[in-house]
Amino acid sequence: MKSNGYDDSVVTGFTFSALFWLIIGLLVGLLIAAQMFLPALNLAPWLAFGRLRVIHTNGLGFGFGLAGIFACTYYMLQRLTRTPVAFPRLAKFHLYFFNACIALAALSLFAGMNTSKEYAELEWPLDVLIVVMWVIFAINVFGTLLKKREGQMYISLWYIVAMTVAVAVLYIVNNLEVPVSWFKSYSLYAGANDANVEWWYGHNVVGSVFTFPILAMFYYFLPKSVNIPIYSHRLSIISFWSLVFAYLWTGAHHLMFTPLPEWIQTVAIAFSIFMIAPSWGSVVNGYYTMQGNWDRMRSNYLAKFFIFGITFYGLQTIQGPTQGLRTLTSFFHYTDWVIGHVHMGTMGWVTMIISASFYYMVPKVFATEVYSVKLANLHFWLILVGQLLFTITLWIAGIQQGAMWKATNEDGSLTYSFLEAVAAMYPYWKIRFVGGLIYFAGIAVFTYNLIMTVRKAKVAAPAAVPRPA
């Protein structure tokens, strides 16, 4: 805004980009959820499950997730440094360039340009564009930090810096490939090495995108929303350094019982269990911040989002390490249990925190109040119920599927054919679809509420519309 000198136009731009990709990604998610029990819905090559699943994960992880992160980062960065963004025109370019990258990514995946490495499916020309996009972002992050007028960097900035450097290292190393044409390349690594590099990346990109910046939002927007400082600065220091240290050791828990050397798997389990401590450091810090003020869960709708969000983060970070243990992974891995696990993190933790951050941020940027607290509450309950129905159903499905795969007769032969175990999943897959629908309804309410908030502000005071500083 003009008055404080901050450039929030890019914050708004990224906020609504995030909502756009969120809707697209969820629609694709609903379609592939239906394809699980209605294979006839695989209508065309570009609408087949194998291609759409990748668009779902990339569209939500990188379209919605990153846009939301960029929006909140530009907002927090300026306020925590008390400095306008260093290169506002570059930030503007970042916004358009990012959306172009995501659109091209979606088109290329529809066309079957796909390296097959999970969360790194984009072919090499797009990898190059993504790296350029990230460098543009990093220039503004560090440019602004170097010009900062606030002496100390607050916790949120640590996580933003960690994300900025970690994603760069992870993305470049995992995507090293040998091109054979504009549309095709082969990984630089082979076999077990490729698997190890991929899951070092796959696990940590989730950490760097779905943990570090989301924690940055949590540490900034929760205290702001409830107007109470964070409980312990010292605890946040311990949590931060142990989290960023331990995260990078754990990728191989995605590769238990595969031909990857056993010592790498064992080290990964040990560090995964350790990770419970730093994760819960943040959870506890959040809970203690609310100490004596728990009534705000009723009076302040934002507190509800943040506390439920961090609770799902806490559950996620206990479930994750335990399901990586050898005994449990031999039962749960490759089943729908893991899909349930992922969705508690994304639909519970990530989306709840981003939602609340947007609810805090957008009215502030437009100097107004949120359009409807009632709708925000409706949004909260819809995404909570949708997510729980979705994840709990898949956990039960995973238990049944794992048990059916392992069941044996007295003579040691298998009790169920693979097909019988597939057929047993249909009821669960249908309930999961319903969970997804409820969740989608919540997101539709969310989008409407934010659009109306901006509209209301524009009608009330046209001058309040942000312009570049």
């Binding site: 699980m36 294979p39 087949a48 499950f49 194998g50 291609r51 699943r53 079957g112 340009m113 796909n114 390296t115 097959s116 999970e118 002496g151 100390q152 640590w158 810096v161 960690a162 450097v165 290292v169 091109p179 054979v180 044409s181 095709k184 082969y186 630089l188 690594y189 082979a190 076999g191 077990a192 090495n193 698997a195 190890n196 590099v197 070092w200 960023v244 240290f245 995260y247 990078l248 050791w249 990728g251 995605h254 595969t258 031909p259 050397p261 790498i264 990964a268 031999s330 089943t335 893991v338 795969w405 069941a407 044996t408 003579d411 040691g412 032969s413 298998l414 693979f418 597939v422 057929a423």
Partner: protein, 325 residues
């Protein structure tokens, strides 16, 4: 010195902290031969198999199918020998997958005849009504693009010359378009007229699927073949003529065998089983060996999934219907 007020120093420290685990668990293993040992029994993909693999990647088959059999008892029973690191020396990228919406494919090579795959890709639900596998009809309707094949093989360093690549492609086309190609009938059914004499994307994909695990199976078969034949010859069916067992065998046949041998056992993808003369021998021992251990050309091995009792019941059922007409 306060690190929290110096962004560049902070970023450098963060990178160092991040790199410790990275170097130990990811970077150093890249240079340890034990991580991805070479294996002399594993052969690189042929040009056709490689093109098939690229179609597998393009269609995102790895989103539903894994390619690692874990060393767990039930998993080995279901899919076969557990996966060895040597097998993946030529896999760039690896395709181990993370979810089994469909079964693992690391041992699918040679399990079924080509005809099974042609029919399955064309209409999975016609074979398995409850399957949620999408139909991949369009693969049979697309000519295989081989304009980059030589370049791909060169990039992967398989050591074939462009002439080798051309010969492999020509040989394979000759094989699947030959008049005596065993899966000719179904291939012709799913392939449009204009492409019948050409290589389609589905041809390449089937070639790739038939390669999966083949090298390991060859080693295992060579080691156990003579012993198995000896042991089988002496076997006798404990359920012969037992009416209850025959009924049970009939049910087992319908569930497991009818997809290929037909509901009436008169043959479809697999041979007619109602004749007294069987393709691989007629004694109880021969039949048991055929079912338990599988036969070349597409008979899967059922010993570990069904167990010996059920196999004998199926044989008892087959004895009851053979030579009736």
């Amino acid at each position: 010195m306060d690190i929290y007020s110096k962004p560049i120093a902070f970023a450098v420290l963060a990178v160092v902290v991040i790199l410790v685990g990275t170097v130990v668990t990811m970077f150093i293993p890249l240079f340890m031969p034990a991580t991805q040992p070479p294996g002399d029994f594993v052969k690189p993909y042929t040009a056709v198999e490689l093109e098939g693999r690229d179609i597998y990647i393009r269609e995102g088959c790895n989103n539903c199918h894994t390619q690692t059999v874990r060393p767990l008892r039930t998993e080995v029973a279901r899919y076969g020998e557990y996966s060895k690191p040597q097998e993946f020396a030529y896999d760039r990228p690896f395709l181990w997958g993370s979810r089994r919406t469909g079964p693992d494919l690391n041992r699918v090579g040679g399990k079924y005849p080509d005809s099974w795959h042609y029919q399955h890709m064309d209409n999975p639900q016609a074979m398995f009504q409850q399957s949620n596998m999408p139909a991949y009809r369009w693969l049979a309707q697309a000519r295989l693009d081989t304009s980059y094949t030589a370049k791909k093989v060169a990039a992967l360093g398989y050591g074939y010359s462009p002439q080798d690549v051309q010969r492999q492609l020509d040989d394979f086309r000759a094989r699947v378009t030959a008049v005596d190609y065993p899966s000719k009938e179904i291939r012709n059914k799913v392939t449009p007229g204009a492409l019948k004499g050409d290589l389609t994307e589905l041809d390449a994909l089937v070639a790739y699927l038939q390669k999966l695990g083949k090298d390991v199976k060859t080693v295992a078969a060579e080691a156990s073949a003579p012993k198995a034949a000896e042991a089988a010859a002496a076997l006798k069916n404990p359920y012969e003529g037992n009416r209850e067992s025959i009924e049970e065998g009939k049910k087992l046949f319908a569930e497991n065998c009818s997809v290929c041998h037909g509901a009436d056992a008169k043959g479809k993808l697999g041979p007619d089983l109602t004749t007294k003369k069987k393709k691989f021998g007629d004694t109880d021992g021969d039949l048991y060996a055929s079912i338990a251990k599988g036969r070349p050309g597409g008979m899967p091995d059922w010993e570990k999934t069904l167990g010996s009792e059920k196999i004998w019941k199926v044989i008892a059922y087959l004895r009851g219907i053979e030579g009736k007409q």
